[in-house]
């Protein structure tokens, strides 16, 4: 028996070696992960790389629909319990077996990552308790009905308990698990000593700033990857990344700049894959106090400003945006199709909501606000601003595709209806700090729905800021509508999918009809690669090497 296995192994190796010659892939990426530790930093580049080596219970496909990964099936068994069936016969890269205790070990480790700048605790704190009826079944309890549990279990990768020296069965305790003396350090993932997952790729080498090398895991149950090794090279400069592709240094790049796309399209050696993303570019409007920092020409505020914000420190003029007609006028003044055609080079879609119609909880019939500058002027006059006012619109200039140019176009549209607008564009690090100090009356930003469904943008961007209810985390326009908040909370507690979708659709309609936030467009994500490769565009904008294939 043992000999046969050995022989088979040798044969498999020989076959693979024969195939390996040309099967290396080099990918030029715009941003590199800050660490290989899958639980250290919850941010795009890290999560993208993590998916190659560490697997979750649940997979999000290219449209962010959930499908089996390490779990083969899951069902809610009551309003607050879920049963997950785990895949049998899966082994980690070091040969140890995957079972339910690895999931518990991982859930226990997540709160124990020191110095994490963005922790995955947000995706584990709903878990109240975990039961293990048998080693390949998990029963997860939550405090309240929690329909997003499978989505959240798709966000973190599973470590091996055994490889990290824990062989005893663990019990999950959200206040700290007993029985583990030390957790693997972040640095030990960067040098590979703890980088042991079940994924379709094994870790080979990480040289920060230069390369990350992965090798295929030949006996993976889900992917038959054709690349022997995959190398990720961080090339942050856009022009240099395109040049590296044209020169043949790399086979595949993400985020090619839009102005280079026409040139790349005419190149016979290069092809472009592009698909609709989950990212909406929107305008947030300050609807908090009686005064607002970026508006002049509206006169004294009626009541003094109270609370947090730039107006607490200096005198500001009256905030015109509490009047729905003014917000509607702003929305009607923008020709979204023109922005998409002229500035985005066609690689965007005008938005009528915060998530494209194909996603869970979005309204299939949602239309962008119709461009009508005359109606916008009439609305302004009706609201008492016939002469308009002056406005400063904040925007980052290096975060989203063509962000500052889009803001510039928006400013021109606003000026056309009498709101004399200038833009205040700064680098992302400065912009987000100022935004979070409420220094803008209107600002442009983007939102990618990590969970791939409507509750993500509604909860974070539109719901009233509330620490205890976990709402409004990025609602820096501070729109507040108690009826809307109730609907979001109701949706977040409705386990039945059809019912939840209906509530989210109604909530989204409500926000749009109130012009609480102005969506501009959905980004279309392009990737550029050799002409003999194909890529299935992903809504989450991740570059996943398993989905890169060669064609003849």
């Amino acid at each position: 028996m043992k000999t046969t296995k050995l022989l088979m192994g040798a044969l498999a190796t020989a076959l693979l070696a024969g195939q390996a010659a040309a099967a290396d892939l080099t990918i030029g990426v715009a941003a590199e992960p800050s660490s290989i530790d899958p639980h250290y930093h919850n941010l795009g580049p890290n999560n993208e790389i993590r998916r190659h080596m560490f697997e979750s219970l649940v997979w999000q496909d290219e449209a962010q629909r959930l499908s089996p990964w390490l779990a083969t099936a899951w069902t809610p068994t009551s309003n607050t319990t879920w049963e997950f069936k785990l895949r049998q016969g899966v082994t980690f890269h070091d040969g140890s077996e995957f079972d339910a205790y690895d999931v518990i070990y991982t859930a226990c480790r997540i709160p124990n990552v020191p110095n994490s700048p963005s922790s995955f605790v947000i995706y584990t704190k709903a878990i109240a308790a975990i039961e293990v009826p048998d080693p390949h079944t998990l029963v997860i309890h939550t405090d309240v009905p929690y329909p997003l549990l499978p989505n959240e279990l798709a966000t973190w990768g599973i470590l091996s308990a055994e490889s990290n020296g824990v062989s005893e069965p663990l019990t999950y305790d959200r206040n700290g698990c007993d029985g583990v003396e030390s957790w693997p350090r972040t640095a030990s993932f960067n040098d590979g000593s703890s980088t042991i997952g079940t994924g379709p790729f094994r870790f080979v080498e990480f040289v920060p700033g230069d390369r990350l090398v992965l090798a295929r895991n030949p006996d993976h149950y889900k992917w038959d990857v054709e690349w022997e090794t995959v190398t990720f090279k961080p090339i942050t400069n856009d022009a240099a990344r395109v040049a590296a592709l044209l020169a043949g240094d790399v086979d595949f790049i993400n985020n090619p700049p839009t102005q280079d796309l026409p040139r790349l399209e005419t190149d016979d050696a290069v092809a472009i894959s592009a698909g609709l993303s989950n990212r909406v570019i929107y305008l947030h409007i300050d609807q908090f106090g009686p005064a607002t920092p970026g508006v002049t020409g509206t006169g004294e505020p009626e009541t003094p400003f109270e609370g947090e914000g730039a107006c607490a420190e200096r005198a500001c003029e009256k905030n015109p945006f509490h009047d729905k007609r003014v917000r509607e006028a702003l929305s009607k003044s923008i020709d979204r199709q023109a922005i998409v055609d002229r500035i985005m080079g066609g690689i965007a879609v005008p938005a009528g909501e915060l998530l494209p119609p194909s996603f869970f909880g979005a309204n299939a019939d949602a239309q962008p606000t119709v461009y009508d500058p005359d109606a916008a002027k009439a609305l302004l006059a009706e609201a008492g601003y016939a002469d308009g006012f002056s406005l400063v619109v904040g925007t980052p200039n290096d975060r989203y595709i063509n962000d500052a140019r889009v803001a510039q176009a928006v400013a021109q549209f606003f000026t056309r209806i009498g709101i004399r607008t200038t833009i205040d564009a700064t680098t992302a690090s400065v912009f987000f700090s100022r935004r979070n100090k409420y220094e803008f009356s209107v600002y442009l930003a983007g939102w990618g729905a990590g969970t791939g469904e409507m509750s993500s943008p509604l909860r974070a961007l539109v719901a009233t800021r509330d620490r205890d209810r976990g709402l409004g985390g990025t609602n820096r326009g501070r729109y507040s509508n108690p009826d809307f908040d109730e609907m979001v909370l109701k949706a977040l507690a409705t386990v039945d999918d059809a019912e939840r979708a209906a509530i989210l659709q109604a909530a989204s309609r409500m926000a749009m009809e109130d012009y609480a936030i102005l969506p501009l467009h959905y980004e279309v994500t392009p990737w550029a690669h050799r002409v003999n490769l194909t890529y299935t565009p992903r809504a989450d904008q991740y570059t996943i090497a398993m989905d890169i294939r060669s064609v003849d």
Partner: protein
């Protein structure tokens, strides 16, 4: 002598201290790192927790004194982004930058001195004039643009050399170097050339001016009168005499080569400390930025200190002056 040394050391400590305050406050003023590091999906409670984990909830001065007490024990802080000691990360990237700087200096000398000699020996020939015109371009074209052009010409159109990255490395005494492998050399050439252009122009101009001056000297005329071959006159008598100012200037310029490497490293995705600094500024990774600048300041202070000490050893007047004071 001891007094000089102690006084200089005290001054150095004061300079370091002042620099640390300026750098710390400056980076602090740009923005709050958590705003750019945290996942936007994080709720308010998680944001507060992350702020506390990174120690950003403390006052500026408390953060500064924590940094200072760490620095006194040789710990320049932990990177917010990478969760490793800032000093370790910088030292990991240093060899790449030093290699690039050395490569650039090598090219500047290898091409600059012969070209300068030719221009100096035959100033009115077409070649000599061409070299001088080229050196003006080398001075005036922006490094960033030249880098992209080099990539377009040599990597994209001709396909001779790779466009970016560092290539294969081998360890020499535990330090990874790339100039010993063919792949590494091919990766090193374009960025080194890009970085060398400015220095090369400088060397050409220095060499040319020196050559023209030296050619008129009596000892050159005498050597020629003695019947020495032209190659010996130029190779020994001329070259030796013009090298002194060239070497002096190049030594001084080494520091600026490392500083200019920031642009070249970004264009060529070269994994050195310049690129690290740019990336860290973009992510507001304050510990790295502060550690990098502190290290640079420390290096310059050390060089100056050594120079001062050497100077006082060489020049008795300095010693005597100190003794009186």
């Amino acid at each position: 002598m001891l007094v000089v040394l102690i006084r200089r050391l005290m001054q150095s400590v004061v300079v370091l201290l002042i620099m640390s305050v300026i750098v710390f406050v400056g980076v602090y003023a740009i923005g709050n790192p958590i705003d750019i590091l945290i996942n936007p999906e994080a709720d308010i409670a998680e944001r507060e927790a992350a702020v506390a984990r990174l120690g950003l909830d403390r006052s500026l001065w408390e953060q500064y004194f924590r940094f200072l007490s760490g620095a006194l024990q040789g710990d320049l802080g932990h990177s917010f982004v990478h969760n490793e000691p800032a000093l370790t990360i910088i030292l990991q990237r240093l060899p790449a930058t030093l290699e690039l700087a050395a490569g650039a200096m090598f090219l500047a000398i290898l091409i600059g001195i012969p070209a300068g000699l030719i221009a100096g020996l035959k100033p009115h020939s077409r070649l000599g004039k061409g070299i001088m015109a080229g050196s003006i371009l080398g001075f005036s074209l922006p490094t960033f643009w030249v880098g992209l052009m080099l990539i377009m010409v040599f990597a994209v159109y001709l396909g001779w050399l790779p466009a970016s990255g560092r290539g294969d490395t081998v360890d020499v005494f535990g330090v990874p170097v790339s100039f010993l492998t063919p792949d590494g050399i091919s990766h090193l050439f374009l960025p080194a050339l890009n970085l060398a252009l400015f220095k090369m122009s400088l060397v050409i101009r220095l060499t040319r001016a020196g050559t023209r001056e030296v050619l008129l000297q009596d000892y050159v005329k005498f050597a020629r009168a003695k019947g020495l071959s032209e190659s010996r006159v130029i190779g020994v008598h001329v070259l030796k005499n013009i090298l002194i100012p060239v070497v002096t200037i190049l030594g001084l310029e080494l520091g600026s080569v490392i500083a200019f490497a920031v642009v070249t490293e970004t264009v060529f995705a070269w994994p050195g400390i310049g690129k690290l600094l740019i990336d860290s500024i973009a992510l507001l990774d304050r510990p790295i930025v502060v550690a990098y600048l502190m290290l640079t300041v420390f290096m310059f202070i050390l060089i100056n200190l050594v120079v001062d000490i050497l100077y006082s050893l060489l020049d008795p007047r300095v010693r005597l002056g100190e003794a009186k004071a």
